[in-house]
């Protein structure tokens, strides 16, 4: 599979001491739905603006469709952007907004008409061509912004938190719609978001960013199931962290002793340093019962401190005898016992669900 966007050692500084991006390397494949995920100020929007050409990188190279983008102004790049605030032309109607890019490229009038109408159909806004943007709802404006970009058939479509301003229900609908539009067009999408759930549900691959750096890059399940750093484990989903010491290697397994006295065992991935480390375990991987499963490797005993009922699941907060607090997420299926606060329980989980973090 060929790459559509490649960033090689891209850095961006504002002034002398504000680092917006630190030596970013990124390859985005053709036809991929690629998300840049991170908290505000992590550099994800700067990355997008560098690809679009609105910011010039302080160092490094940007390639789009195999071509070096250095010294290419935004209007000469084969990318289009869906802006966070839509940035629609309020003085033009919907039709002229969508036709703008095609008119600038001197596409024949008849073709413009046909393509704008196809774009309006794609975003389900047929018959809205004569309306002004301000006469539309937020969701509709968002769709116009999308149509205005995709009508130009860009190599890469850049989306800067396009659903950020919509309410939850509409956002869910638009997520599905965006995904199906991307499927239909086969265009490479580069999607900036701070919403981890959005990134997980929509993306083929995610780049998690923090403090101007790339933390981890991978498929959603990989990012979720095998977080490599404390930041990734913490930012995406809920995680139990155990600080402690790596004791050593046991074949291809790592032995770990937590500060609370838990002996944990996990598969080895990459190089392992001995000394203080952190281990992460997702709450839904932990099993809870009165008696531990015989032969369970990673296990501990504790007392339920409180239970939060969340409909389909319940959060149990368990305090271990070593003084550590562990969150356990449990399905509320029929017939399973309910653990009241104060009851003694056993917890256990698989070594494969136990992750030694790099930092």
């Amino acid at each position: 599979m060929s790459d559509d966007v490649t960033l090689a050692g891209v850095s961006k500084r504002f002034g002398a001491d504000v680092v917006a991006l630190e030596s970013l390397d990124l390859s985005i494949r053709k036809g991929e739905f690629f998300s840049l995920l991170g908290p505000s100020g992590c550099g994800k929007t700067t990355t997008l603006r560098i690809i679009a050409g609105f910011e010039t990188p302080t160092a490094g190279e940007v390639y789009v469709g195999g071509e070096n983008m250095a010294d290419r102004p935004p209007n000469k790049r084969p990318v289009n952007t869906v802006f966070q605030s839509y940035a629609l032309f309020q003085h033009m109607n919907v039709y002229d907004n969508i036709a703008f890019g095609l008119q600038q490229r001197k596409v024949p009038k008849a073709e413009i008409k046909q393509r704008v109408e196809a774009a309006l159909r794609l975003v389900r806004l047929e018959g809205y061509g004569r309306r002004r943007p301000r006469e539309l709802s937020g969701g509709q404006q968002q769709r116009v912004a999308l149509a205005r970009a995709v009508v130009n058939r860009p190599t890469v479509l850049l989306l800067d938190e396009p659903l950020g301003a919509l309410d939850l229900k509409l956002r869910k609908e638009m997520q599905l719609e965006l995904k199906s539009i991307q499927h239909e067009l086969g265009t490479t999408f580069v999607y900036v978001t701070h919403d981890q759930e959005e990134a997980l549900t929509m993306s083929d691959r995610i780049a998690v960013m923090n403090r101007a750096r790339l933390e981890q890059i991978g498929e959603p399940s990989e990012i979720y199931e095998r977080p490599r750093t404390r930041f990734v484990a913490d930012f995406i989903g809920i995680t139990n962290f155990f600080s402690g010491q790596v004791q050593g290697l046991d074949g291809d397994r790592v032995r770990f002793l937590s500060d609370g006295g838990l002996n944990l065992c996990m598969p080895r991935s990459g190089s392992v340093k001995s000394g203080p480390s952190t281990v992460a375990v997702r709450p839904e991987k932990i099993k809870i019962a009165e008696q531990a499963h015989i032969g369970a490797v990673n296990r501990c005993e504790g007392v339920v401190e409180d239970v939060v009922y969340l409909g389909s699941t319940s959060h149990h907060r368990v305090r271990t005898s070593g003084g550590e607090t562990i969150i356990v997420l449990r399905q509320n299926d029929s017939g399973t016992a309910v653990f009241a606060p104060g009851s003694r329980v056993s917890l256990w989980w698989e070594p494969e669900s136990t992750h030694l973090l790099e930092d």
């Binding site: 940035a87 032309f89 033009m92």
Partner: protein, 304 residues
Amino acid sequence: MARIEAQARPSPSAARRFTPRRLLRPRGGWLLVPNALWASLFFLIPLCIIVIYSFLPIDENGNATTGFTLDNYVQLNDPLYIHIFWRSIAMSLGSTVLCLLLGYPLAYFMAMQAGRYKNLCLLLVIVPFWTSFLIRTYGWIILLSPNGLLTGVLKSVHAITQPLDILYTPFSVMLGMTYSYLPLMIFPLYVSLEKVDRRVLEAARDLYADGWSAFRRVTLPLSLPGIVAGSLLVGIPSTGEFLIPDLLGGARTEMIGNAISDQFTQAFDWPFGSAMSLIMMVILLGAIVLYLRMVRRNPEAGVL
């Protein structure tokens, strides 16, 4: 979809309609009272007096007497006055266009490029106002007179041999009016350009527009309210201007303001002066309506 639509489009007329009943409601309406009092005392009542005066006949001594006549209006249908009317309109149009040509680039620079020097620039635009209007206009006489500064400089670089004969011409009046009214053009332009969302300009660039196309298709139409407001602020008072043509135009460049002033202060023919004032107001009103219509018809001027 239908549900979203219904929420999204509150009828704009409902929000903006001012009916007498709305105005008289306890909240809000009283805010208009000070201005209404001021305007009726110092504008509406004097205007009525002028209207009445314009229909009064004059006796053999030239004083207004009781009665009703259209003579004052008929008298205006004279090539001399028609010429003065046309000249006033042409000179006002000329200085408005000059103000726009000079003011737009400056306002654009201040709004888009000046960054943290914005406020300094705004201050510099106002600085000339710290000196009396009269003194500033007299300054132009010194600059433009045949033995003035401009002639001196041009002579010393051998650009001209004869003294410049530009003082007391329509040109010098237009210069003076452009100079005096320029800030009134710059401020509304600056405000409307300042409001233009940078991201919208980025969107235009993203959609293959080069700098010039982005300006022509996005910035310019979005700044149209500023152009309209500035043009009205400059065009209206400069049509009726009488001090600048008096000082810089001499006897050769009389404008309608001077003609009106002459009727009141020298000929003491108040009814005729009143008629002239009213005709000027009607012409201005017509011009404004025409101008606004023209602007509104521009398809990309939907901002208005």
